[in-house]
């Protein structure tokens, strides 16, 4: 399984906000275990979807020079389940961004209705402050994430 939990960006304003969508499909293996006979997307994976949306937003704003590490889930609240066939939308906004870290807030929606709120803190890890057991290269923004952003052609194309 590829560890990528958003399908495409539908809006992106550098350093300010980003929106991505995720189509939940029965082809995803975890749905057969969560739960047998009652497939729902685990909220932890919706947090990951928001972390990828917001993390790419944060990384892009500083030219992908640093690894952007999810350091803290400040808030994660969900009101409803997401089922196969649903399209989720992650809307993320940068609240604060500096050398040390970034704070983002965001909503998860389904069919235009907000079903969750996820606020995150990311740490910036670069060569100067990297723990010794982490690799030298940028291990967060791998090709599959970079491709996701380079494929983004604006909201009109995805209408």
């Amino acid at each position: 399984m590829r560890w990528i939990w958003i399908d495409t960006f539908v809006a992106f304003e550098s350093g300010v906000s980003a929106s991505a969508v995720k189509n939940v499909t029965l082809a995803e293996e975890y749905l057969y275990d969560h739960f047998p006979g009652y497939p729902v997307m685990p909220p932890s994976l919706m947090i990951e979807g928001m972390a990828q949306t917001a993390g790419i937003l944060v990384g892009e704003s500083r030219g992908f020079k640093e690894n952007v590490i999810l350091a803290k889930v400040r808030r994660a609240e969900f009101d409803e389940y997401a089922f196969p066939g649903n399209q989720l939308r992650y809307d993320a906004t940068v609240d604060s961004l500096d050398d040390r870290a970034a704070v983002t807030s965001g909503t998860v929606s389904k069919g235009g209705k907000t079903i969750g709120r996820v606020d995150l803190i990311f740490s910036h890890v670069n060569q100067a402050n990297k723990p010794i057991d982490l690799p030298d290269h940028n291990f967060v923004f791998t090709d599959q994430f970079m491709r996701l952003l380079s494929d983004f052609r604006g909201e009109a194309d995805h209408g």
Binding site: A71, K72, D95, S96, R100, A101, I121
Partner: protein, 131 residues
């Protein structure tokens, strides 16, 4: 108008309950952030961001929670802070109460300087400086 100490305390109580997932009644003036309220390293940054927003202040890196004094080897001798290190720390943290710590300045005891009261003092100083 400058906020009263009670108003500042009440806002800080809310900041800490949100940031650390603790109950209101745990956030008493003498509570230490790490031992009593369970704060981890990233929580200190979270607290700084929340205080900046709540009080509309700017908190420069290391001003509320100085983290670079211990990294200077001259400031530490074995498990204790040197007199120079302690002097630097006291100068950097006028908002902290050193009465107990300076009797035996063990590095391991340093987290006890970071209490709820330390934050209240810091924010009060900051607000009165900008009033």
């Amino acid at each position: 108008m400058v906020a009263s100490r009670d108003e500042v305390f009440s806002k800080i109580q809310e900041v800490l309950t949100d940031a650390l997932g603790v109950d209101d009644d745990e956030v008493v003036a003498s509570a230490t952030l790490q031992d009593d309220l369970g704060a981890e390293s990233i929580d200190f940054l979270d607290i700084v961001f929340r205080l900046e927003k709540e009080f509309s202040i700017k908190i420069p890196k290391g001003e509320l929670f100085p983290d670079d004094i211990l990294s200077n080897p001259d400031n530490v001798d074995g498990d204790k802070m040197t007199p120079e290190g302690l002097a630097q720390l006291k100068a950097a943290m006028p908002h902290a109460d050193f009465a107990e710590f300076e009797k035996d300045p063990l590095v391991a005891e340093m987290p006890k300087l970071f209490t709820v009261n330390t934050i209240v003092n810091y924010v009060e100083n900051k607000l009165s400086a900008t009033a």
